[in-house]
């Protein structure tokens, strides 16, 4: 009676699982390392992909053109007199000065981003703070924050409201302030701004307008919104920075482990294959067994790694990466990322992890399958 192909696979799977379970310790340790590598790569992929998606969705309303002045290659304050000639460029809808800067809080060793909001000019002495600032200073609405001005005097500003925790990704370290208070803190001259922001009618004219600004004021640097979006596309590329070195390290360690595991057939395994061949298994049957062995381990590690990474990034707020991302930041935004999963991501992950493992194990599997039973059993 001939066995159907399906039946044959079932029998081989039954046998493979029994064989794997006989060497529990070895196989579970391989599974654990394999899962960890996939977990690591998948976590970085999920994290960076979500930040990029977030940036893309949130920053689509960023200013169309930001104009900065440069002085000796460094960012400098821009004179308000630059506004009028820029406004006259055909296609420019509006030009507004932006007043913002960094304030270092020496007591708490934290950096805040101070931004002037026009609507707050009517209520000097009041500020709105990001949730990260409020958390760090342990203050709430109506609390007072002292600011040391650049002339050495102190300014005590009252918190009018706190940004919601949902908006931390854009507002965590922000302090909204009136123009009067801002100029006082930084001894900011009255005829300059930090930079200028432009609204443009037709997006196709952005490059032309930027070129005209550059010709008109060669000491300026126009930044297009498209560049801002591209920046986030590039700076959170998971294939760059230190991250990739760490991932390479983990992947190489894993390849060595997989290679060692697959090449170093134990005497017991050799004997097992020898017996199988002696009782009538063909080379193709042993290869089929090796295929299922790889499939069981790879599939289990892949799905465990993927699920754990998803939970880590989206439920546990990427806690394992927190200290790395935090770096020296005192104000650290606590944000929950929105999950974005695509077939492309899963396929990339698969090619980066399962394919190298499979390639590593092909040659040793072939060697195992072509073992001479007589020689093994005599050994």
């Amino acid at each position: 009676m001939t066995m159907s192909a399906f039946e044959k696979h079932r029998h081989v799977i039954d046998f493979t699982l029994s064989s794997l379970l006989r060497r529990k310790g070895k196989n579970f340790s391989l599974l654990a390392v394999y899962t960890f590598v996939i977990f690591l790569v998948a976590s970085v992929m999920f994290l960076t992909h979500s930040i990029k998606e977030d940036a893309y969705m949130v920053l689509t309303d960023a200013p169309e053109i930001t104009v900065q002045k440069l002085m000796a290659g460094r960012h400098d304050l821009i004179p308000l007199s630059y506004m009028e000639p820029i406004r006259e460029i055909r296609g420019v809808q509006s030009v507004e000065p932006r007043l913002w800067g960094y304030y270092f809080d020496g007591t708490n060793k934290a950096n805040y981003t101070l931004v002037v909001k026009k609507e707050m000019n009517n209520t000097p002495g009041a500020i709105s703070v990001g949730n990260g600032v409020a958390r760090n200073l342990l203050v709430k609405e109506n609390g007072i924050i002292p600011f040391k001005a650049y002339d050495g005097s102190y300014l005590f500003l009252k918190i009018k409201d706190v940004f919601s925790s949902e908006s931390e990704l854009v507002s965590s370290d922000l302090i909204l302030i009136s123009e009067q208070d801002f100029r006082k803190i930084f001894a900011f001259p009255p005829d300059v701004a930090t930079d200028l922001v432009l609204r443009v009618r037709n997006p196709r004219e952005l490059t032309t307008i930027a070129t005209k600004i550059n010709q008109m004021f060669p000491d300026t640097r126009p930044i297009l919104r498209e560049e801002i979006l591209r920046t986030y596309e590039a700076v959170f590329d998971w294939r760059g920075g230190l991250v990739i070195i760490i991932l390479w390290g983990a992947a190489l360690a894993f390849v060595i482990l997989a290679w060692d595991r697959a090449t170093g057939l134990s005497a017991e395994e050799k004997r097992e294959i020898g017996i199988l061949k002696a009782i009538g298994w063909e080379t193709s049957d042993v290869l089929l067994m090796k295929f299922w062995e790889g499939a069981v381990i790879s599939f289990s590690a892949f799905s465990f790694g993927l699920l754990l990474a998803y939970a880590h990034v989206y439920f546990a707020s990427f806690i394992l990466f927190e200290s790395t991302i935090k770096g020296w930041s005192i104000i650290y935004p606590q944000f929950r990322l929105t999950p974005f999963v695509s077939i492309y991501q899963i396929a990339t992950l698969f090619f980066l992890t399962v394919v190298p493992y499979t390639v590593t194990t092909i040659a040793p599997s072939w060697r195992a399958a072509t073992i001479d039973p007589d020689m093994v059993m005599r050994a």
Binding site: A62, T66, L176, F299, Y314, F340
Partner: protein
């Protein structure tokens, strides 16, 4: 039903596939749920004319990478090497690369 190991494996594979499939569903549900918070963030960006996300707050050029110029990591003093941890995590923005925006 699970009297053979291959059956257990099949069930295990199916459960895992189902869970991986659920990731897509969960992601879609959360995306829908977070629409309001996305709109809120977009509104803040538009109103305050913001240009960057607040992810790193230790260095100026990682707090506002799109505003950074090529000197910022070194501008504390001449020969000041880039030393903030977040500087090593972030890849150089395209506008600061040797071939500009190409």
């Amino acid at each position: 039903m699970f009297n053979r190991k291959s059956h257990v494996l099949l069930a295990f594979f199916l459960v895992n596939l189902l869970l991986v499939g659920l990731l897509f569903v969960h992601a879609r549900v959360v995306q829908q749920k977070n629409r309001v918070s996305f709109l809120e963030k977009r509104k803040i960006v538009k109103e305050l004319q913001l240009t960057d996300l607040c992810i790193f707050t230790d260095a100026r050029y990682t707090r506002h990478p799109s505003m950074a110029d090529s000197n910022t990591p070194f501008q504390d003093h001449p020969l000041s090497l880039e030393h903030f941890p977040s500087g090593s995590l972030m890849v150089l923005p395209p506008h600061l690369r040797p071939h500009g925006n190409e």
